[in-house]
């Protein structure tokens, strides 16, 4: 296990008595492109949240480059080199595209250095604009971007920060076919020189771009391995095609919302396979 970039050991997360993660182990080596899949409620986003400091784990460890991430604030974890995107993209609508990128790129500057105005566009930002294909929209406010463009901008904001590990949460959810195509290319390009973990529901996308896959189910790792092997695993097939067990898991939170959530959850992308 030595030399692993990310090592998650026996990680558990509890929400009001409901165990969203129940002892997850995950190891990611430098340079890897890892896909995380699983049905609704499997704990994929929770896992990413716990790694990036958004959610405090109830137990277990997360080590990044050998350093324990426990108890560190989100921004400190980012500064160690772990970047992430969100399912629903959150770019700063009040700022322009280039300002969004520039802000992301400046994160290692001391605060006092930020008091000076930005002059021009740094090479790094210009490069990222090129990669994500938003060069001609550089000076438009991010608020006018389409859903797909926002996701790319978010990825761009990650790239300029040069993280050693990228965590992308459903980057193609809600995208058109053409947008998926471009996102896939973007992903391939990024994965060439970054370590990336992608949460994805979309099986088509998965088949095209994934090599290694980890399947989560009910807060545990169900299977891990190359994409074909995972796809043929009977346990995975049971989870995805067999009896829908996520309803029971959701019910454990109790209260009206849980009832609502279980029923209201739209059929996830994972169920399409």
């Amino acid at each position: 296990m030595n030399g692993a970039l990310l090592e998650v050991r026996d990680l558990s997360v509890v929400f009001d008595g409901y165990r969203a993660l129940a002892g997850v182990d995950l190891t990611v080596q430098p340079g890897e492109l890892r896909f995380l899949i699983g049905p609704n409620g499997a704990g994929k986003t929770t896992l990413v949240d716990a790694i990036t400091g958004l959610t405090r784990p109830a137990g277990g460890t997360v080590r990044f480059e050998g350093r324990d991430l426990a108890g560190r604030a989100e921004h400190e974890i980012v500064r160690l080199g772990v970047g992430r995107t969100f399912q629903t993209s959150v770019v700063f609508e009040g700022l322009t595209v280039v300002e969004n990128l520039d802000l992301a790129a400046s994160f290692r500057r001391p605060l006092w250095a930020l008091v000076r105005r930005r002059r021009g566009v740094s090479d790094q930002v210009a490069g990222a604009l090129e990669i994500i294909g938003l060069a001609e929209l550089a000076d438009r406010p991010a608020g006018v971007l389409s859903h797909g463009q926002r996701q790319w901008l978010e990825i761009g904001m990650l790239i300029v920060q040069a993280p050693r590990l990228l965590l992308l949460d459903e980057p193609v959810a809600g995208m058109s076919a053409a947008e998926r195509e471009r996102t896939g290319e973007l992903l391939t390009r990024i994965a060439a020189d970054h370590t990336v973990i992608v949460i994805e529901h979309d099986m088509e996308f998965l088949r095209r771009y994934a090599s290694a896959v980890t399947v989560l189910h009910e807060g545990r790792v169900l299977v891990e391995g190359p994409v074909d092997q995972v796809r043929d695993d009977p346990r995975v097939q049971e989870v995805y095609l067999g009896r829908p067990r996520e309803g029971a898991a959701g019910g454990a939170t109790g209260g009206p919302v849980a009832a609502v959530t279980a029923a209201a959850a739209p059929p996830g992308g994972g169920g399409t396979e």
């Binding site: 609704n40 409620g41 499997a42 994929k44 986003t45 990036t52 958004l54 604030a73 989100e74 921004h75 980012v78 500064r79 970047g83 992430r84 969100f86 399912q87 629903t88 959150v90 700063f92 609508e93 009040g94 700022l95 322009t96 300002e99 520039d102 802000l103 992301a104 400046s106 994160f107 290692r108 500057r109 605060l111 930020l114 008091v115 000076r116 105005r117 930005r118 406010p141 991010a142 608020g143 006018v144 904001m157 920060q161 996520e246 959701g250 919302v257 959530t261 279980a262 209201a264 959850a265 739209p266 996830g268």
Partner: protein, 373 residues
């Protein structure tokens, strides 16, 4: 994932979001207009002192003091999303620093008059440094900044924000007033500090002194405005807006929003403190009634009326509301509360971007019509 996965970033209770998001491009940050600024500056520095009778000039100086506070509120609230309804506390801290200096100067080595009435026999140690005008002025700015820095650190680091923060600043204002009133021997109680006659050897009642003070206030306001504008156009300003619109997201860019907010809060408190220090010689009194919840809220409302997203709007609002208040109470006193109340409701409902926003909209309509013609 279950449907509890991250929603769009707005739980109503905590997210400082706006139904009608501000017009995306920060137009004020990109339009350079030294000529226009110079015109306003000339009007304020040359025309006003020449045209206004001393009584009105003195009132304008008072409004400009409020405008300085408004500028700070615009920075913290309009740009940083931190609604402060305890800004009067910082204003008061600056005011008291200046008031203490003037009072000691007036007493000329004796005890200030109110201490004699309150049975204080020796000058409290807290007062001693304020015999120095330099210390008083520095404290007027640094004191509020330090207090805001402390409160900000305590509160923002624990991610208390939005409504909670607003309520805490409100409670701070209420508690400060009670403390000031209760420590009468030290602070002059409800009466506050008053009865000043001289500032740096100048007779405060003289028209010339008041004109000079007006100019000082106007220049300070102008300088602070330029400084604030510069700050907003910098990366820090972009970061501040980012914090306003998505504090948690900023964390994932590797910044600590608590630091950004605390700094901004402290800067805005420093402005309020300076305004308070200038206010005292202009108006001649500082008392707890000036820094409670109500005056603090009135300042915020003035900024809302002027336009919280625009620094110029914040200044405009403070001046307009100050003048409106004076005019109204001269005409019909009872009407002021109705008018003030109604004004907030109308502004918040129909023009959340305030006068500045209305002017912007009007201009856009005009220019688009002209473009069509």
């Amino acid at each position: 994932m279950t449907a509890t996965t991250p929603q769009t970033p707005a739980t109503p209770a905590t997210a400082p979001r706006f139904a009608a998001p501000p017009p995306a491009p920060p137009w004020w940050a990109r339009l350079g207009g030294p000529a226009a600024f110079t015109a306003v500056a000339l009007l304020a520095l040359v025309a006003a002192p020449l045209l206004l009778e001393p009584f009105r000039l003195n009132l304008l100086a008072k409004y400009l003091c409020y405008a300085i506070v408004g500028l700070g509120i615009g920075l913290a609230w309009g740009q940083g999303g931190m609604l402060v309804i305890g800004q009067g506390v910082f204003f008061g801290l600056g005011g008291y620093a200046m008031g203490m200096y003037l009072k000691l100067h007036e007493a000329g080595g004796d005890l200030p008059d109110f201490m004699v009435w309150s049975g204080v026999e020796r000058l409290p140690a807290l007062w001693a440094p304020f015999a120095s005008p330099a210390f008083s002025l520095v404290f007027a700015v640094a004191g509020p900044m330090a207090l805001a820095g402390l409160l900000g650190t305590l509160v923002f680091r624990r991610r208390v924000r939005g409504a909670y923060f607003a309520i805490l600043t409100q409670a701070l204002a209420a508690a400060t007033v009670i403390l000031l009133v209760g420590r009468q021997g030290l602070t002059g109680g409800t009466n506050g500090l008053t009865n000043f006659f001289e500032l740096f050897g100048q007779d405060l009642a003289a028209d010339g002194t008041q004109r000079g003070l007006y100019l000082v206030v106007a220049v300070v306001l102008g300088v602070l405005y330029l400084g604030a504008r510069q700050l907003l156009r910098s990366r820090f300003g972009r970061l501040l807006i980012a914090v306003r619109d998505g504090e948690d997201r900023v964390r994932f860019l590797g910044y600590d929003p608590a630091t950004v907010k605390t700094l901004t809060f402290a800067v805005s408190a420093g402005m309020a403190g300076l305004a308070g220090a200038l206010f005292v010689p202009v108006v001649g009194i500082i008392s707890p009634a000036l820094l409670g919840v109500v005056p603090s809220l009135e300042l915020v409302v003035a900024v809302a009326v002027g336009g919280r997203f625009s620094l110029a709007g914040a200044i405009l609002g403070a001046v307009v509301m100050g003048q409106a208040r004076t005019t109204f109470s001269e005409q019909f006193a009872d009407g002021w509360l109705y008018l003030q109340g109604a004004l907030f409701i109308v502004v918040m409902t129909l023009a959340p971007r305030g006068l500045a926003g209305l002017a912007g909209t009007a201009r856009e309509m005009w220019s688009s019509r002209r473009a069509r013609a």
